[in-house]
Every structure is written in C-alpha cells, then in structure tokens.
Symmetry: C2
Subunit: 545 residues, 2 copies
Amino acid sequence: MDINHTKIATADMESLHRIFTVAEAPDSTLGKIEKDISENLAGFLNEHIVAREIPLSEIERDFNHAHLPEEPTFVSEHTKFLLDKLVAHSVHTAAPSFIGHMTSALPYFMLPLSKIMIALNQNLVKIETSKAFTPLERQVIGMMHHLVYAESDAFYQDFMHSESDSLGAFCSGGTVANISALWVARNNELKASGDFKGVNNSGLYRGLKHYGYDGLAILVSTRGHYSLAKAADILGLGRDDVVAVPVDGEHKVLVDEMKLKANQLKQQNIKVMAIVGVAGTTETGNVDPLNDLADLAAELDCHFHVDAAWGGATLFSEKHKSLLKGIERADSVTIDAHKQMYVPMGAGLVLFKSPRLASEIEHHAEYVLRKGSKDLGSHTLEGSRPGMAMLVYSALNVLGRKGYELLIDRSIEQAAYFANLIQNNADFELVSQPELCILTYRFVPKQIKQLLKQATPKQALLINEHLDDLTQFIQKSQREAGKSFVSRTRINCARYDNQVITVFRVVLANPLTTQQILQEMLEEQVCLANKSQIALPELIRILES
Amino acid sequence: MDINHTKIATADMESLHRIFTVAEAPDSTLGKIEKDISENLAGFLNEHIVAREIPLSEIERDFNHAHLPEEPTFVSEHTKFLLDKLVAHSVHTAAPSFIGHMTSALPYFMLPLSKIMIALNQNLVKIETSKAFTPLERQVIGMMHHLVYAESDAFYQDFMHSESDSLGAFCSGGTVANISALWVARNNELKASGDFKGVNNSGLYRGLKHYGYDGLAILVSTRGHYSLAKAADILGLGRDDVVAVPVDGEHKVLVDEMKLKANQLKQQNIKVMAIVGVAGTTETGNVDPLNDLADLAAELDCHFHVDAAWGGATLFSEKHKSLLKGIERADSVTIDAHKQMYVPMGAGLVLFKSPRLASEIEHHAEYVLRKGSKDLGSHTLEGSRPGMAMLVYSALNVLGRKGYELLIDRSIEQAAYFANLIQNNADFELVSQPELCILTYRFVPKQIKQLLKQATPKQALLINEHLDDLTQFIQKSQREAGKSFVSRTRINCARYDNQVITVFRVVLANPLTTQQILQEMLEEQVCLANKSQIALPELIRILES
C-alpha cells in the first residue's frame, strides 16, 4: 500500500485540528448562548422556549431532508438554526406549569457538572476508559443499595468494590433496569443443573424442557409499567405471560388475587418466575403492599422485583419512607435518578439484594471484561455507557439526604394541596387520591355530577363516554395552547363499577410549582371546557328525558 | 389529611428554590471551572487530567462509604473534591497518545451544545416531552438510513415522519442496537400465524413448537462482538446458539464455512434466524464480505444484520465506502455515533431497511405511545431517553459529509502509516494489517523472530506463550505509567497455525495523534520490554539447546 501522508491537504488538516482543540470564542454566537445558560438558565429557557401553538406537521417541515449535508456549516450559523427551529419548539419540561410528566426542573449545578462529564467522555464499560469513574459508580450503587437494604458496613466493605460481585447496575433508564432485573430472575430460575448448562447458555426452550415447565410467568398489577410486557417479550416469555392482577380502589394490587393467579398457573404447569411490586405506579403514584408481596414471593419461591423507578426516592424522607415498607425484602429494585432525584435524562439503576445474583448474567470478552477485572461492563445489559453516575453522586452530595427529604416532602404536600383544591371545586372530580405526588382527576360540571349520582349503570356509561371526549379535548387544547400541561391516561375507576375512564394526570415534582399555578390550572381548564363542542346541556337533556 | 403548607420552613424552601433557579456565580469555583472548559478545553484537560501512576485500590479509598451524606455540601466544595479525586484520576480519552480504544477526542462545539441539550432535558420517548426533538431524531435516522440504503426521495417523504413506520431507533449504544436488531429478527421469524399469536405475545417456547423448530441460531464470525452472545442470552436463545464461524487470515468470515454450519443446523432442525456481518471487527477492524453474506441470507431466508458499530462511518468516505459494499442489502444495521462520528458517549443507532420491520416490536400504553401517535418510544427497546440525536444532527451539519470524509480518510492513512512503521522495525511484528484504522501488533525482538521462523510448531507454541507474557507486561506497564495507552487482546493468528496469541490493539481515530506520537509509542514499548522480568536471552538459550 502506498502511503502518502500529504494526500489530505494541509489546510484541511488544520481546520480539522482546530475543531478538536480550539474552543468557541466567548463573543461568538455559541459562546454568548453558553454564557447566557451559565449565568441565567431560567432566563435562557424563558426567552428561548415558548411552547407556541404550532402543529407538529409544521415543525416536521424543518426536519424533512433525508440527504446528508455535503458541506460543513459554521457553528454559529448552525447554532442559530437550532435556537430558532429546535430550542424554540422544544417542550419546556422545567416550567413550573409543566406538571404532566415525570420530567421536571434540574438543580442549576447539573449543567456545569454535565459539561465536565461530557468533556471527560469516559466509557464506564471498562476501567481502561473510566478509571476513577468506576469506583465512583460502584460507590453510588453502594449508597443506593444502602438506602434500600441498609446492610452492615462490613457487607459494603466486602462487596461494593468486589470484582466478582455486583450490588446493581447503572443504565439509561427504568426500562433497561426492569429488563435487567427480570433477565437476572429468568436466568436464576432456569440456572445450570445436571447436564443443563443454564438458560444463559442453552436457551429458554431447552431450559423449560429441562425443568419440565410449560412456561414462565410474571405477575404484576394492572397498573404495572408497560416496560414489563416489553421485558417479557424481549426475554422470550411473551407479553401474555405478564399476568395482570386486579387492584383495589387505591390502585394497589390485590395480593390474594395474585396468589389465586399463581395457583391457577401452577395447575397449568407454568412457573411464576417473578412477582413485581410497584412503588409509585406511573399513572396514579400508588405503592403496592410490598411486605405482603414479599411474603407471597417467599411462598411461591420466586424472584421479587420492585419497580420503584418513580417512588424509590421516597426512601430519602423519614416521614414517608414507611410507605415503601417491605422494599428491603425485594431481590431487585429499579430506581430512576432522572425522575425524583432530579438528575438529567438517562440515569437509571437496578439494585440487587444479593451480591451474587448478577453472576447469572455475567459475560466476558478477550479485550475487555476479562475475568478478575473490575470492569463494570461484565454485569450490565448495555455496553459502552457515559459517566452519568457522576451526576447522581454530585446530587447526593450537594443536596444530601436532607435536601432530598425536603423535595420529597414538599412534593407530597403539594399533591395533597392540589387534591384538596380539586375536591373543594364543584366542577371537578378527584379520581385518584395522591399517595405520593401523582394524582388523577377530571372536569365534571356540577349538574353532571348530580346526574352521575342518580344514573343507572347504563346511563353512567354513556355520561362517562362523553366526559372522556371532554377530558381529551381539554387536555389537547391546553397542551396546544402551551401555557401549562397535564397529561392524560385511561384508568379503571372503582367508583363507576370499574369502567375505564379518561382522566387528567398530574405529577407534582417541580419544586417551583406554586399553589397559584395549581389554582390557575383549574381555571384554565374550565375556560377550555366552555369552548368544547361537546354540548353538555344537550347531554343533560338527553339523559333527563 | 391535614394540609399545612407551612410545615416546611420558609428558609429551607428558599434555598431549595435557589438551587433550581439561580446559576452559579461566574467567580465561584464551579463558575471558574466552567469558564476554563468553555475557553480552553485542551488546557483544562491537560491541567486536570494526569494519568498518574496510582493503583485502583488507592482510588477506591476515596469512594468507600456506602452511607448517604445526611447534610448538603456547598457546590464549590464538592466541585473541588471532584477535581482532586475524580477528574484527576480519570482516563484522558481525548489524549492523542490514548490510542487503545474507540473513545477519542470530541469536536469543541459538542460541549456547549451538550449543555443546551441537558438544560432542555427532553425525554424522547414521547412527543409531549420532546416536541421538535422528535422530528429532529426522525430526520437523523432518515439521514443515516439514506447513507446506508440510499432509497428514493419519495421513500423518505413517505416513511421518515410516518407514525406507523420506523426507519430505525436511537439508543444508548451498539449493544442495545444489536439487541434491538436481533429482537426484531426473532419476532419476525416467529411471527403470528394461524392460532399462534406471535413470539412477542406467546413466547419463544410456544413459538418454536408452533413452527416445529428445535431451536434458533445466529451465525457470526469468531470476531463478532460479545454483545451478540449477550443478545442471544437476553432474547432467550442461549449463548451457545450464537454459532461462531471461522475467519480467513484477514479476519473476515469464511462464507462457505457459514453455509456449512447453516446446513448442519438445518439437519438438527435448528432454524438460522439471523446471520451477522461485521463491518469493522472490534479487535482488528476488518470488514466481512457483506455482499456474499447478503447472498447467503437470501438463500437461507433469514435476517441479515450488519454490526457496523465501528465501521459504519466509513460510508462517509467516497474513497473507502466500497469496503462496505453489500451493507445496503442488510435488513438491519448498527452504527455508533459515539465512535467514529465523534459524538459524546451514549449515542447508538439501529437502522431497518424495511419501514415495517420494527412493527414486530411495537408496543403501546394508555398514557403515552397511544396508537396513531408519533411517539418514538413505541419502537424502541429503551423507554425514557435523552436528546442525544441533537448532537448527531449538529455533527452532521457542522462537519458535513466532507468533514467526516476527511476524518475517516485521515484515520485510515494514519493506520497504514503506523503499520508500515511497525513492519519496518526489526523488533516488532504486525499481526493484523489495518483495513480501517485498527491494527494489532506485538513486540518480538529480532533474534526471537529469527527463531520463530525456524521453530517447530511445538517450539513456536512455547515461544509465543512467553511473548504473550511479555506483551501483557508491556501493555500493563505502559497503561500504568500513563503517558500513552494501547489496549491488548487475544486473537488467533493464521501465521502460527491459528494459535491464540496476545497482541497490542491500536485504534487510530483521534485526529490529533501525530506520526511522532506513533514513533514514540514503539520507543516506549522497547524501553518497557527491557525492564521485563521475562528473560529473553534465557528463552533463546533453552530453545537453541
């Protein structure tokens, strides 16, 4: 091969060199924006993010070319495009009136620290590309393990930095955490025995044959997160093998019903591989009776996983942590740091009670993850991973347990306040009472409320169907107007004979959300309802006739 | 419930409010650091990252407490700790002499743009938390799809923003991309038919029974990435169902051997569900004969996946893209943007040739991903995800195809230069010739080289074992000294009767790596070899006797 190093023009090489070494000048467009964000994040966000009433199809027009740009673009020019076309049409997730999803404001120190993290560009899969980040991540996992399981100091001395053990794994989010936990559960259930080399080596088909089962199942309440069905699909179980167990009026799983299902499955020769308790359901924020579930798991001799992606942070609060009693008996626990731990998107965690459990998913390679190495990648679903653990570490240190406690207590109080506000308003109906800081409700004008009370089941069904349309109309209109945002979902409602109804869903985790904002939220919804095409007086007439 | 909003002290609430709104003062510790990074990244990295010779056990001492800190810490104080204990002991992945792994330098504009991305804190799982980021991500997927498949403009108009179709998925990295691709392949292989509701709903056990197979298999070369075995495990196939096919002297899969294996599996009633071509093997950077593999996949009627996590970016180069000829026939392709696309860690991509393929893994929920929505989360393995697509978008625009071409061409030339340097040095042996910018080599003093030439196979085995120890010693010493870094791996070597030997592995993707650095690399290795306990003269005596 002919090697001619000057083939690439020197001028090109120089500009290439610059792009990797010379930072943006402070007075350039990007430099100014950066300074803006650094000095005044709230100002930057307010100025540049206006959830303008603009249809998606219009935004799509700006992102419509499938051809790669041939030529380079000046950074400043590109940044201007981003500000006008991307940032301006982003969702202001940090806005105090954005209370519809689990993404909220970030503490300001997250931004400069994120920049350090990104500048370091560590890869946590192996020590050779992370060094100090590896012990740091292990410590964060250890701290979170301690928060849940509170084992002895000796335990953490033995296992936190042990190369052959794992107290958990960092990942991009709750879904991967749940998949990881159930992967471990499956491999542990069908582990190597006799001439069977384990499901990890020989697969599910041979595993079930070896153990003589006709299937595996996962039991969880009807309020379980959709990632569990996805996990079952990926793991080869099938979505139908996630058996949904009914909940009580407070959206908590009925443990007796779960036991009944387990027994039915046993009759069908299907092994319950795991039961899942939810600690903070996505839609209503309720916590399953974890202690009872732990008892049941012991009885069924199966894995007990707790999906605390949302509610796990409640453990920071002395006042409220008892809501999660029993979580310390779980074999695995999912917690999302990018939810109630106020870390930027992309920080999930799964914790394992037993340091040996993750060995069921251990893997090695020749150039990394060699046996005996402390490379974190030998026990994770993901391969290359960024150093997000640093941000969790910083949040834990800067806020401290007491800082988190303040945030959690405040959110729960705020939800109780809003629930009270809704209940005291004649034109609204609180559908689910908040246990953590999530609640659901809907707009039901007082005449309709009256009618619903007297309605036959058939009439109630009809009224609720109209109310569903109304709720959807209000939610969409409010979202499009862009001043404030609640989400919507459909849940079965004990009050209406378990009819599935559409409701507003509110997540009150942003510490900047004031009581006034909540009052205005209801006022805006009343206004929007009045604009609706769904003619309520007419509905009343039909029902009364 | 008694609601007393003043329960949390006002002073606490104020400091809480501050932490979410008030940015760090420019003259604070963190403010200064941030300014430092903004204005002079290279300076910051050089000053703060010194890969000091410090054992891991010593670093672990700084990250040894499993108890959460109770009290908050001042941000400045915490930042100082991070600089001293974390940043100072991180790996300088951007250093021009760090040429051992696939993580390298970042263009400077990535840092301020990352900060905008993190400040926006979008969640790409659904439009309600991402809005303009969703069309942007779809466009980036479209552009990368076009790079690989070059379909017509009409095709992209139809499918790029279509709610029911998907040209691919963003994810945290190549491992998740590979798992996603094989998940799609598995579900497509065992799709619903007759009374069988599909493997996604009914699981692998019932799927195999329905289709009458005794198993599924994935075929890939012995050089395939370890994530493929992990994928097989997760998907319920078992690691043994990834059948490793031998390679030729250039580390390219022997297609005839693969065909032979496939026929053997057919005899055992095992269906080949996918064959995988590698476009840039992790250890040697070689590309499989993709066109021949596409032919074989057609013959076997199975999914054809190309793992181009590393090599995909070669398609930017007019000069070298023909190396990947046949990739446009793949059903799915993995490309990592955080590798040769110089985007920060956490940006992987899987692309699907057919817009309908991903429907096999489609899922919905009541509060998000509703049918008919354009929420990206309905076709991804992960749930909540950050807006990393923005950084890929910016890189594509700022660098342009021609900018990437320059980088790719330069890397390949640099590897050819280094290979030449090694071959012209009497004391080194080039083990794998670079095809892209990865090569392997080892230190073999010229007397030993001479001996190896004359040695019997048994003698060669013995010599190579000693050389393995020497290679390992040099690599470890060099890593610990911290001036420069190559990785090491073990590969089978055609020259020595396919004996598995330990080699240095070099990845030449950092545009700041100079020829001088490469010359010094060899000089340092010679010095380190001289310090080795492995007495070469003695070895020579033994063998000569």
